[in-house]
């Protein structure tokens, strides 16, 4: 029996069937789901349990034939614990949580990401490529240096095959042009005449910058951004740890993807986050 989506239940134990170093301090894993499931959507996330260690939210890079791909960037003890896991080990997942990206048709799709934010964009790219209509996909990626660029080889190949246009840059110029991905984005926005939608996932301050930029261009008909940087406990709306002011939206349920209209209403966006205590901290 194939389930439409995973039940939001206690952690479902999955075997790690593949693991590789994706880029600097970042590993990708393939997890074998023990139940048949379809229906994870780009932008959704899971809660990843490393038994005896920690549990935290991570985005979904892909789901095919009950194999779920995730990409984990080292941040602290919890992500390190996952990096220590090997093929054959079990980890638990809960999900699928959150509202996905909802790409319209007949627009330029402008995807821009930083750090582990590129994880959900991977799945979005694959979904857009599978759509019946030929879509115009532009991916803007930047990192401090070359070995921190996620999915670099894969994105380059797609670029070479003409499936996407890949705009890549590094702070130190070790790959692509030197500078921030927003530079290429702005250039593109100045040139293009087609209505465009911006999809962003990464550090919130970067996304806020993009948001302010995008608003200057009426041809940007929507922006969809993943507020996947907030502390989360439950992932399904109960603890409210992930909520934003002043709307009280919970990122895990009402997000993590918010569109322009909603982002306008979130005064916290790019400014404050809440710690695990509930205290506010300037971003």
């Amino acid at each position: 029996m194939t389930k439409q989506t995973l039940a939001n239940d206690k952690p479902l134990m999955c075997k790690i069937v593949d693991k590789w170093e994706e880029c600097f301090e970042t590993f990708s894993f393939k997890l074998q789901l023990p139940v048949k499931v379809q229906g994870a959507k780009p932008g959704q996330f899971i809660m990843l349990w490393i038994p005896g260690e920690d549990e935290y939210p991570v985005g979904i890079a892909g789901l095919e034939n009950n194999i779920l791909e995730v990409g984990i960037a080292r941040m602290g003890e919890g992500t390190e614990a996952m990096h220590r896991k090997e093929v054959g080990d079990f980890v638990g997942i809960r999900g699928f949580y959150g509202k996905p990206f909802t790409p319209p048709e007949d627009v330029n799709h402008l995807l821009i990401g930083g750090g582990f934010g590129v994880v959900p964009l991977k799945m979005l790219i694959e979904t857009l490529m599978k759509s019946e209509k030929k879509q115009d996909i532009h991916v803007f990626e930047g990192a401090r240096t070359k070995n921190r660029l996620m999915y670099l080889k894969w994105l380059q190949e797609l670029h070479d095959q003409g499936e996407i246009t890949f705009h890549v840059c590094t702070d130190d110029g070790s790959f692509g042009y030197q500078g921030f991905p927003t530079v290429a984005l702005e250039e593109f926005l100045q040139k293009t005449k087609t209505p465009s939608v911006i999809y962003a996932a990464g550090p919130e301050r970067m996304m806020k910058f993009i948001f302010d930029l995008g608003k200057k261009y009426p041809k940007v008909i929507d922006m969809q951004m993943s507020l996947a940087g907030r502390y989360m406990r439950c992932g399904f709306g109960a603890c409210a740890n992930c909520a934003v002011d002043p709307t009280g939206w919970r990122i895990c349920v009402d997000g993590p993807i918010f569109n322009t209209e909603k982002l306008e209403k979130i005064s916290d966006f790019g400014v404050y986050e809440r710690l695990d205590t509930g205290e506010k901290k300037k971003l």
């Binding site: 939001n8 920690d54 439950c234 709306g237 109960a238 603890c239 919970r250 205590t277 509930g278």
Partner: protein, 306 residues
């Protein structure tokens, strides 16, 4: 027909109150919950210092029994920081009950004194926490401690004091009696049940804290019995607020009939859109009142004892 209900001197527009710990960390979610149509909100339990609570996993669902197990471990920003959120909330005139906890009388007093000047509706005293580390004696299960703390706090504030009761006792009426003698203004029953879930694949308790508290539908028959037992003993002597496993308007009625004057709702508001849930709750309660020709909530209270 009116949904208004009185809890001592306090009148609420309806008997539905947000339970502590769910949607209760920031002014914005509390405000959202109230605007969804509730009668009042209880904040997350607040202590003296900021605390990160327990290691994750600290909460997950148990769908098969429509329940949730959690051990947030009283994570909270501390009363001084929370005061800011509270002030914002009170600016919007949201009827607010502040849940407070402490490891000792001194801690309870410090938190209470630090917030008692605000125009809040009540303090809810949280003496228990099913997710606490050990099975060590807790205030909630010790009638003498409960009496002493309530009595002392009573002299420190004119704000109504509600006492939240744990179901993890052999005689809930005994603990409640201590609280009533101490001078509290309402009883809130019940908190979560002590519980645990072990993953058989990795042979580990799933919660970071190993132990947790069970909330949701599995708790309802326990909560109903607790409220029934309390009402049988206290009758109208003290208002009782029913909590545990409310997922439907019918569940609210069941608590009222058992003896509740109002109810608190946690898990079900946390796993859905509070706006939708509250609308359904209200529709059902109203429909029931019409069909059974009740014109006020107080007429329903205790109906199962007749």
């Amino acid at each position: 027909m009116s949904l208004a209900t009185k809890i001592g001197s306090l009148t609420l527009r309806n008997p539905m109150i947000l339970a502590s710990g769910v949607l209760g960390t920031s002014y914005s979610t509390l405000k959202r919950a109230y605007e969804a149509g509730l009668g009042a909100v209880v904040t997350k339990s607040i202590g003296i210092n900021p605390s990160s609570g327990n290691t994750n996993p600290s909460i997950f669902a148990l769908n098969e029994i429509r329940s949730v197990i959690s051990s947030i471990g009283l994570a909270n920003p501390g009363f001084q920081v929370f005061r800011e959120d509270l002030e914002k909330l009170l600016e919007s005139s949201v009827p607010t009950i502040v849940s407070i906890f402490g490891e000792s009388m001194e801690e309870f007093k410090e938190v209470l004194n630090g917030l008692t000047d605000l125009p809040i509706q009540a303090f809810e005293l949280n003496f228990s926490c099913s997710s606490s580390k050990k099975d060590r004696a807790q205030i909630s299960t010790d009638p003498d401690l409960v009496f002493e703390i309530v009595k002392e706090l009573r002299t420190n504030t004119t704000v109504p004091l509600w006492v939240k009761l744990t179901p993890n006792v052999s005689n809930i009426v005994e603990i409640a009696s201590s609280a009533v003698r101490g001078g509290c203004d309402a009883l809130v029953a019940v908190d979560t049940l002590k519980a645990m879930v072990i993953d058989i694949q990795t042979k580990q308790p799933i919660l970071g804290n190993k132990r947790g508290g069970l909330s949701g539908a599995a708790l309802k028959p326990v909560g109903i019995r607790s409220v029934y037992d309390l009402y049988e003993h206290f009758d109208e002597e003290i208002p009782i607020i029913g909590v545990g496993g409310i997922y439907r308007g019918e569940d609210i009625i069941e608590y009222l009939l058992a003896g509740a004057t109002a109810v608190e709702i946690g898990t079900s508001l946390g796993v859905a859109y509070p706006e939708n849930m509250v609308r359904f709750f209200q529709m059902k309660v109203k429909k029931y009142m019409e069909e059974h020709k009740f014109s006020s909530i107080s007429e329903i209270t205790g109906g199962a004892h007749k």
